[in-house]
Symmetry: C2
Subunit: 323 residues, 2 copies
């Protein structure tokens, strides 16, 4: 199958986003995929900046990823973390030795005054990653959660407490002041297709859209925008999405996810089994692709990507929509 896409932009969080990115990278001509990554999950550990979503994208797209768990470096060890534990430091965040190499390098470069965008671009190039990766913003943006145990930062809730504290509200600290990087805006303006990955809409995609001007840049782009559902039969493939949506009073359906992207998406990809969602979204005026959306390994991700790219050929480009 050949496709005409030369400039695809993917909005992505971690594991699900990285799988979609890998599928698209395999399906597209080399150099045509740019991923705009969530930074709301970023955290400092021992003074080192960890960017879990960027890291998962970087490791997946450079084939360094631990395929079993979907994050971290394959075959990594935890000697540094063991020493930190011996020294009495908190070690609930599982940072491997190879992983620390990246965090050390990034933190060093940040302290030297380089931007996260420039650092990520260099890492992408040095690792030979199959796509460009751009942080949604170089400014500080942090997802925080109001829970039944009070306000928490994202990683202490997600990893430290295994998502157990019930969430009442989400906040993206700094989003009002955070500006998208120039390369992200340029990529969106030049895109011929924009894809929203099957990442957690509340925790991965919305922190990207919360960056000042990014939502508008997508809404005004000429390229069609397709979202992919992170739910199959009302269940998330991975992660706390279903419970989080329910806790926050949302319907746990693909249609509900698509509607959160109202005004952005022209089309949505739902699982073949979710017929009611497909019907509801078509009634909303969206184009819908119903197919098997489970990405089973890189070939499965590539299969979904090819179907999505083929389907996207049927969508109208809206050159007049661009500012």
């Amino acid at each position: 199958m050949t496709v005409r896409w030369n400039s695809v932009v993917l909005l992505a969080g971690g594991v699900g986003g990285a799988r979609m990115a890998e599928g698209l990278a395999r399906a597209l001509p080399s150099g045509s995929l740019t991923v705009i990554a969530n930074v709301g999950d970023d955290e400092e550990f021992y003074g080192l900046r960890v960017c879990p979503d960027i890291d998962t994208l970087l490791y997946t797209l450079s084939d360094r990823i631990d395929r079993g768990q979907g994050w971290g470096v394959g075959g990594d060890t935890v000697k540094a973390l063991d020493v930190l534990r011996d020294l009495g430091a908190p070690t609930w965040m599982k940072l491997g030795d190879a992983d620390f190499g990246l965090h050390i390098w990034r933190s060093w470069r940040l302290r030297e005054g380089d931007s996260l965008s420039a650092i990520t671009a260099e890492a992408t190039k040095r690792f030979g990653a199959a796509a460009k990766i751009l942080p949604a913003t170089d400014d500080r943006l942090r997802t925080r959660l109001d829970t039944d145990e009070g306000w928490m930062d994202f990683q202490p809730w997600f990893v430290g407490r295994h998502c157990k504290p019930k969430v009442k509200e989400l906040r993206f600290d700094g989003a009002g002041d955070a500006r998208p990087g120039a390369p992200a805006l340029a990529a969106l303006a030049a895109a011929d297709l924009i894809v929203i990955a099957p990442s957690n809409p509340l925790l991965s995609i919305e922190p990207i859209l919360a960056v000042s001007g990014l939502r508008e840049a997508i809404a005004s782009a000429a390229a069609p925008c397709i979202g992919v559902s992170p739910l199959i039969g009302g269940k998330a493939v991975k992660g706390p999405l279903a419970r989080l949506m329910a806790d926050l009073g949302h319907q746990v359906t693909s249609a509900a996810v698509a509607r959160r992207y109202g005004g952005l998406v022209d089309a949505f990809v739902v699982d073949a089994g979710d017929r009611a969602d497909a019907g509801a979204l078509e009634a909303d005026g969206l184009a819908v692709l119903s197919t098997d959306i489970l990405m089973n390994g890189p070939p499965g991700a590539e299969r979904l990507a090819r179907e999505l790219l083929e389907f996207a050929l049927t969508l109208p480009v809206q050159p007049g929509r661009a500012a």
Copy 2:
């Protein structure tokens, strides 16, 4: 053999100093050894503070050391360093993964505002090290070398260039402003014996003595002070000492080393084979112990330590010398 020593202070650099420290720790009652460590070799790598002499002491005294090479952590791996190399960072300093755990922790604590003394004391305790380890100073002090290739920092010369550039002059940057830590001064004042380890006098011991007031604190201490020669038959057991002394125009003998400590040492330990040095130093008025000074493994270090401690019983305490 029992000894009466309850409070011994050792001045030490890296590998040779750590061997002497281990021998003394094995020979002395628990809790009676304090090591004042050189920090002139300290360096920042990727924004992380590495203290090679403190680390070697810490790893040796907690039995984590790589016994084969005398530095670093036994069985350590270099996954983080491999990633740093992939990312284009200079990686001539061989920092292992477990080793990085300590550097990450120390750098984090320093940025949080803790002193190197407090951090080192906590690491010593957490690692269960067999002696207290105190940095000679918490202030910045760096050994720099004027070479036939210009001025160089210590680690780039020592590790980066394998000591190849010929040294014309040594300088201890910051020594004039650096103050000893209060615990180091207290340990010297309370000591019943002071030992200068068979470390490199020019690169390990003199940067300690260059700390403002430290030389005076030793000179005015009531405790006798014994030095141990780092040379056997004019050759160093390890490291660049012999060539460095020759390059700087010094005689490469145990007597020449002892004379650099003039006004500090009451006694000196030389190798049994170095009879001329023993005679010369006795003529200088020093008490001399001539014995096998090669520390072959921890039992060999303990044997030398016991001989030294026994010999030190013959030295007069000078309570009147204390200020």
